[in-house]
Symmetry: C2
Subunit: 238 residues, 2 copies
């Protein structure tokens, strides 16, 4: 990844009791400062038209115009010409399938490495990683391979959820699932709780932002907590 | 599927407060009656040796000897010669990858269609369906395609979990995830709560057993509940 990459990887678009993108609105406005129009990727939800309308309303309130990629006559050209990119959440498998089908993975990765600011929420944060192997989503469609944009060197687990000590459910906890990931894979994972995001600068700076702590999963050691404001590079640039 | 197939597809191996396979022990003993040895597939967990030991202890208590497939010099031959098959739970992607790598999908499907009784728990139930597109598991490895054994005409969602009305978590509920599956796929899904299982006979009989109700997801209608004892064929043989 070139040193010009700038990404904001957000756990969830909406935290409990607040509106769409409210909790990270200031960070988004600062991240996209200098851009006038934002290109939105609505592929993770089925109803792209409704999703684009929702995103447009929100971004207009932040002072940006919004174009949705599903309306572009030539999607690759739209990516080439974009000032800023926002990939919204939904189902990660559907999102990755449609990015691959539309041959947009390479053009997006190239533009981000060249400095186009990238915002992802949930599934849109997942696909910024090397693979989608740490998504929480149901594999409702075959994405044609789990490799994703590879814009950061670590895996993301958005909506990270602590075990509920009162639960009688016997399905695996999130922590157990991520430990199973590490049984099969080398790359570290950031368990990003709702309300948190990662500010990525170039190849070597990945700072945790937002209210909650994050939980890091690194092969060969116990999972551990990091505080907001922490530079994660020492753990995630393996 | 031939009319000789007999499957017991169990939601979870262990319900809250009971031991391994306790809640369905009688049903398993009846299902495998006539067999002396059970062939166990431990591929869904990382530590196959420990998993096989646990399963062996349990099946010996039920009156069966147990051979684990990971110890077989010739796995395909072991499947050919098996009297009864048990595929245990864990990670569905890892299980399917290893069944495919070992070229065991076709031999297993053929033997089950020919009448070899099949028991699955959790991931082992998931892979009995046409695809693993309704698993809850994290895609920690690429299974080389989502198509599975196809022994029943419907999809399974084991460990089906009702929404928690007190939750402040914003990730998708299970119901929402399964509705997203139906946005992209035609086949019905049985949401099988912990404590439940499906008794499958031939091509046309799929009876819900165990304590809890199940939740059915059929394209074009609202999800609905079915009681234990219900024959599901009318909904799941689309």
């Amino acid at each position: 990844m070139s040193s010009r990459a700038r990404l904001l990887l957000v756990s969830t678009s909406t935290t409990f009791g607040t509106g769409y993108l409210d909790h990270c609105a200031e960070a988004i406005a600062a991240h996209f400062a200098g851009a006038r129009r934002v290109l939105f990727v609505p592929f993770a939800l089925f109803d792209r038209e409704a999703y684009a309308a929702k995103a447009r309303t929100r971004f207009e309130a932040l002072g940006f115009e919004l174009d949705s990629l599903h309306r572009a006559a030539d999607p690759a050209r739209a990516v080439e010409g974009a000032e800023a990119l926002f990939i919204g959440g939904g189902n990660t498998f559907r999102l990755l399938r449609d990015l691959r089908r539309s041959a947009l993975l390479e053009p997006i990765a190239r533009r981000v490495r060249g400095g186009m600011p990238y915002l992802g929420t949930s599934a849109g944060s997942n696909v910024a990683g090397p693979t989608i192997r740490t998504t929480n989503d149901m594999p409702i469609v075959d994405p044609g391979g789990f490799e994703a944009l590879g814009l950061v060197p670590f895996q993301l687990n958005p909506h990270y959820l602590d075990p509920d000590p009162s639960s009688k459910h016997m399905g695996e906890t999130r922590e157990k699932r991520l430990q199973e990931y590490l049984e099969e894979n080398e790359r570290p994972v950031v368990g990003l709780r709702e309300g948190g995001w990662i500010e990525c600068r170039g190849e070597t700076s990945f700072v945790l932002r937002g209210a909650p702590r994050a939980r890091l999963f690194v092969r060969g050691r116990e999972p551990f907590e990091v505080e907001p404001g922490t530079e994660l590079a020492a753990w995630v640039c393996a």
